[in-house]
């Protein structure tokens, strides 16, 4: 099982801040994104048509990063602080 967190537009548009995702075999971030994009039109819009950043266990990672059970995976738009 991995924990998925969504922030900003993603959280708001998908009306979801946190979800649990069952993970039987290791999966890349890119594979997880394409699975999430298949959950519906809005999910496709957020995960397949826009720039989405990813953090794994609170560190910025990329599409090739492999995920294992217990990981905390966060998706969010490019940051706009400061």
């Amino acid at each position: 099982m991995i924990k998925i967190l969504l922030f900003a537009q993603l959280r708001e548009v998908l009306k979801c801040h946190r979800l649990e995702f069952p993970l039987s075999t290791p999966l890349s971030v890119a594979e997880l994104k394409s699975q999430l994009a298949g959950r519906g039109d809005l999910w496709h819009l957020m995960f397949a048509e826009q720039e989405v950043l990813v953090a794994v266990n609170q560190v910025m990672r990329d599409n090739e990063t492999m995920l294992v059970s217990g990981d905390e995976v966060a998706f969010f738009p490019p940051v706009t602080g400061g």
Binding site: E12, H17, Q58, V59, A74, P78, T80, G81, G82
Partner: protein
Amino acid sequence: MPDSPSGETSATAPANNHIQILDRAFEPSAMYQAMLATDVHHGALVTFTGMVRDLAAKPVNAMFLEHYPGMTERALEDIIAKARTRWVLGQVSISHRVGMLYPGEPIVFVGVTSTHRREAFEACQFLMDFLKMDAPFWKKEFTPDGERWVAAKSSDCEAAKRW
């Protein structure tokens, strides 16, 4: 109203790093005074304060700042650690607001002490450039025309690339 991360969190892992995520208005002069009062070993103190703008051409009534509790503090610690590999710095203080903000209110304060001004100026700019690119904060503006998430600027990425 979006979900608001409530409560104040702070982390201060090397003693000379001071990181604060604040959910209510703060006074940058208090941060400045604290740095001045505790540092007699360095000749230079440079600070930056960023504020919510309300431009006539682009009016903003309020702003909501979302962040990723846990990762935010960690990302700021990493940015400070990166700065410390490039310059010899004394104290580094970063305070960043979250929650609802209004025009004129400070969003971010960055303060750096060093032996000489050049290091302090450069490190302060470096910290802001990387904060804008790597720290997980997101702004949403409330305007007379409605609310909108602020889009990231490519110029912010360019600013960090120069280092």
